[in-house]
């Protein structure tokens, strides 16, 4: 059972999609919804053992399954999860339930195809996070593009085709470069490493540090383009607002909650451990882009008049934080980055759900159309407020824990990084509170808003898990952190293989401030 568990989790949605395609008629809309929901719920239940039976002391892969797939070129079907991926898998299975349930009333045409696409999406994403074979990873990584392309292109808004094609081509462009990087690693391994034909990550990890820095930098850049577009990092982010604005609510939730994490995950899983010297060399460059992303994203978010676009640009800012943590290259930073990936999935996912709820009622997302909503929609307002505060990083809610650890890690790397990054938390509060004020405070003067109804039980039901998670991670993050700790520690060791001097605490502050040079610690 343990050996097949991951396969089962990854392919249950695919099986569901096939059954949906073959055995359901277009007109059976209720049955289709019930079945799709059931599949996602079953998938979530299947993934629960990953939480309960996960060994927190083990840094390597667990629940592994390895079968040879294309032996001629050394490709294997190799699945496994570790602390880096396990929470992302769980986040995916939860998000899929929410994404399915939130679509019931929002999607009213071609429902069958829609839910097929959603389920295919799930398999693609789950496989991406589970793959230990880098070729297999690439296959899943690419597969996710297709259903998302349809989700945006068919069920999207006014400029759906433009957004869909832009999303598809832009990410494809990045991943083609990444493929070059993968192939380079593959061939380098033949020469410098084990000398065997393999895409097995656990074997490739050994060859990474031996690659000469020149070649490593090229491979780094290839991976960088692929993942930075996905994250998205400044200046590769412009596909994101378009995709978000045009995508249906569930598409945005999946996009923000999970798809973007494939980029940040890629950096932690592949770039840092496989290319340690290059990663260290590129720290200033990566940190610079992250900080620009944090501040730039926040300022551009502030200028938006469309709620969804505002949330989309806030993602650019938040993911800047994640990348800053990752490239602090120390335990606190990467752990914070990892946790913030989950947090961003929860908070921003919930924000997109909330935007979807109001859009369904008013068919507009212009902030100026709203105002004074708190008097007609008190429950909606309360949930929006909690979500906003979680996104701002208020202590007691999830966002704070991740942001705090990231900043600790950044400060440890260099006080300059942290000093710039804290500007982001001020701006983050500014654009969010301003949005909240314009939407919920003031008088209810737009007659269109006077007949608005508060959240329905179904809406509360799918928002509730998000809110519970916000408080849980905020008040008691231990179970989450402890699951990631060992694996993150391993990544930190691997990336610091060539003892980067910048990661000793003593170097974080200018001379004269520190007491005595301290030993390197993580």
């Amino acid at each position: 059972m343990e050996n097949f568990l991951l396969t089962l989790i990854a392919f249950t949605p695919l099986a569901g999609a096939v059954i949906l395609m073959l055995f359901f008629k277009r007109e059976q809309t209720v049955a289709i919804k019930v079945f799709a929901t059931a599949v996602t719920v079953v998938d979530f239940l299947l993934s629960i053992p990953l939480w309960t039976r996960f060994d927190t002391s083990e840094a390597g892969f667990q629940f592994v399954q390895k079968v040879s797939w294309i032996p001629t070129i050394g490709v294997s079907y190799f699945l496994g999860v570790d602390g880096i991926s396990v929470l992302l898998v769980l986040l995916t299975t939860i998000t899929m339930i929410v994404a399915t349930v939130c679509s019931f009333t929002a999607i009213v045409e071609r429902e069958k195809e829609y839910y097929v696409c959603l389920l295919l999406m799930a398999t693609g994403m789950l496989g991406t996070f589970m793959a230990v074979d880098i070729f297999l990873f690439y296959v899943f990584f690419e597969i996710t593009l297709v259903p998302m392309y349809f989700l945006i292109g068919i069920w999207g808004g006014k400029r759906k085709l433009y957004a869909a094609i832009k999303f598809f081509l832009y990410t494809l462009f990045g991943s083609v470069l990444m493929l070059l990087g993968i192939l380079a690693l593959y061939f380098v391994n033949l020469k410098l490493g084990t000398g065997t034909l393999t895409f097995d990550l656990t074997e490739l990890y050994a060859v990474g540090p031996k690659i000469p820095i020149g070649l490593q930098s090229w491979i780094f850049l290839a991976f960088f383009v692929g993942f930075a577009i996905k994250v998205p990092m400044f200046p590769f982010h412009t596909w994101l607002p378009d995709a978000h604005v045009e995508a249906p609510t569930a598409g945005s939730v999946i996009l923000a909650g999970i798809l973007l994490k494939m980029g940040t995950y890629g950096f932690v899983r592949f770039v840092l451990p496989l290319l340690p010297q290059a990663s260290q060399m590129f720290v200033p460059f990566m940190v610079l882009l992250s900080i620009i992303g944090i501040i730039y994203g926040a300022l551009v978010a502030m200028a938006q008049t469309d709620v969804k676009k505002l949330v989309a640009y806030s993602s650019v800012s938040h993911l800047g934080f994640v990348m800053l943590g990752v490239f602090a290259l120390n335990q606190q930073g990467i752990l914070g980055g990892q946790l913030q990936m989950i947090n961003h999935g929860i908070s921003t996912g919930a924000l997109f759900l909330l935007v979807g709820i109001i859009y369904e009622r008013r068919h507009t997302r212009e902030i100026s159309e709203f105002g004074g909503l708190s008097s007609v929609m008190p429950i909606y307002t309360t949930i929006f407020a909690i979500t906003m505060l979680s996104s701002i990083g208020l202590p007691g809610l999830n966002g704070f824990v991740g942001e705090f650890l990231i900043l600790v890690g950044a400060f440890k790397a260099s006080y300059v990084y942290a000093a710039f990054a804290v500007i982001g938390i001020v701006l983050g509060a500014a654009y969010m509170l301003w949005l909240f004020q314009r939407m919920f405070f003031g008088t209810l003067d737009n007659p269109e808003n006077q007949k608005l109804t508060d959240c329905t039980p179904r809406e509360i039901l799918y928002l509730l898990p998000m809110v519970v998670l916000m408080f849980w991670i905020g008040l008691y993050p231990r179970p989450f952190l402890s699951r990631m700790e060992a694996s993150v520690g391993k990544v930190v060791k691997m990336v610091n293989v060539a003892a980067a001097p910048m990661n000793t605490k003593a170097a974080a502050l200018p001379a004269g401030v520190r007491t005595q040079p301290k030993a390197k610690n993580f």
């Binding site: 597969i143 730039y296 551009v300 600790v408 804290v422 001020v426 509060a429 405070f441 003031g442 952190l481």
Partner: protein, 676 residues
Amino acid sequence: MIELAWLIPLFPALGVVINGFFGTRYTRDNAGHIASLMAGLSFLVVLGIASEMIFGSGGTHTIHLWDWISAGKFSVSIAFLIDPLSTIMLLVVSGVGFLVHVYSVGYLQGDPGYPRFFTYLNLFMLSMFLLVLGDNYLLMFVGWEGVGLCSYLLIGFWYEKKSASDAGKKAFIVNRIGDAGFLLGMFMIWILTDSLTYSEVFQAAPNMTAAGATAIGLLLFIGAAGKSAQIPLYVWLPDAMEGPTPVSALIHAATMVTAGVYMVARTSPIYAMGPGALEVIAIVGAVTAFFAASIGLVQNDIKRVLAYSTVSQLGFMFIALGVGAYATAIFHLMTHAFFKGLMFLGSGSVIHSLHHAPVEQQQDMRYMGGLKSKLPITYWTFVIGALAIAGIPPLAGFWSKDEILANAFFTGHYFIWGLGTAAAFMTAFYMFRLIFMTFHGEMRVDHHAREYIHESPYSMTVPLIILAVLSVVGGIIPGFPLEGGWIHSFLAPSLAKGGAGGHAASEAVQFVRVAVESGGGHEGPTAIILIILAIAIAVGGIALAWFMYMRNPAVPDDLASRFPGLHRLLLNKYYIDEIYEACIIKPIYRLMNSLWSFDANVVDGAVNGASLVTLVSSRFSGIFDLKTVDGAVNGIASMTKFFSQVFKFIQSGMVQNYLFVMLLGIFMMLSAYLFR
């Protein structure tokens, strides 16, 4: 009893849950009673703990609840610390908090947001308790942000008013700037000491370099300046008066705004190592005290006068901290909570009685006057508060304020002492200006509202009376004799010795200490002269107010017309808000809009441009291909060769390969089918 400290925040948390979930449906009219009960229960627990601390063994006690965040060597717990400093803070917070709860039951009766108000108020108590109880900086920060949130929610309580929601937002964002400093200071503490827990940090503090300690001190002070409304971050506090008056009393006078003072006092072992930071604090405090008092001279809104007075008094507390007199700062924090809480609640009672006057006149002292006979309890308690803040002995303010000024003087900070003394003079003046304009003279209240003026209900007047009693005895009991009062010896274990570790003025401090310890008070002629001077200044300020507003009411207008520039400058609060608007807010708006068009046109334009170039070049190469038919023959040959290579790979006989290709094919067909 001490091990039950976790009960203190638990009660208001319960109140939040009860009123938050059931407030609008079930507990509507009883929300105030439930919230007050919770605050009262917390107060009882605090009393129990305080009596054990004061009459019992004292000492330092840690109550560990659970581990909160850990990452590598970084680890922080949820744990509470009971020591003399937190005991005093708890007494002030829970005591004044409870009174304000009771007062609010009457004040907000009938407001549509009644249960919401008490939910927020309990949430505030919870956060404030966490702030003072936490045994580490991170937990203090949690409370710090929590009280900030409640402040935001309560300032904007009447959210339909644009000015109220604007003020709330302003408070939150300005405080966030301070928080950024606090966070950086916290990181630095962790880098230098490997911990955020007070006991461990302070144990390591003596090993810090002066530069390190000064940097931490300054960064933390940015946070303190935000929360405690010091220059340049004070601008949110006057606007915060948009909130209901009990909120102004509790949050924006007695408790939350003093969090910065508490934080600096708590951090005293680090400040002792970085004297440079203390000098900055003293100067900022003195300038703020002077500057805010001068604005208070000419304001006409009763609550704004009190708000600027609060900023000014907080400046006094920072003077005390800056000259190393931490216990004196906490002492003044306590007495200020009594008399300023009293006066805010008193002003609320006045506003409450003018309920039927036009909205814009309810807080404007130019439309008051002669309320003394109609509101006797409010009047007399207010006078006690004003006498206390002016520094008339033996009322509370005299003891704490005089200690601050004496400490500044005896540590050689003559300039700061001068500014403080001038501010004290202005304080006495504007407070009695307020009293004369509000309660004395002829009644200028709108005619329709006059018949409705009445003294407030008992739930409002009883808290006033209790606070008035505390304003009388709250100074002399803990503070007698000057410089040697009980509060100093009680707080001593929690605080660093003033000026230890190379403080520039340490010798002077030691001098005072020796003088105090040997004589028990300000011995010597200088000290006596200072006391006489302080009393004279208080009396002088009151007398001047009487002369200008009672005896000869034409003088203020006369002065205003004789110095129009100065008057306008003060009336418009030195145009600080306008300067911030022009120098910070406007540029940010411009920046954000230009970045947005940069993003849409340049960054995204590059992407679209690249795709356009690809599109055009593919067209051209298509045409080129057609034209070069010659090469086709060779092309076909090489293509055949190429494809045979490719197909050789594909026909590997492995089922998985076929499956993979099939999968791709399915996607392609699916796309054709869906987009037909």
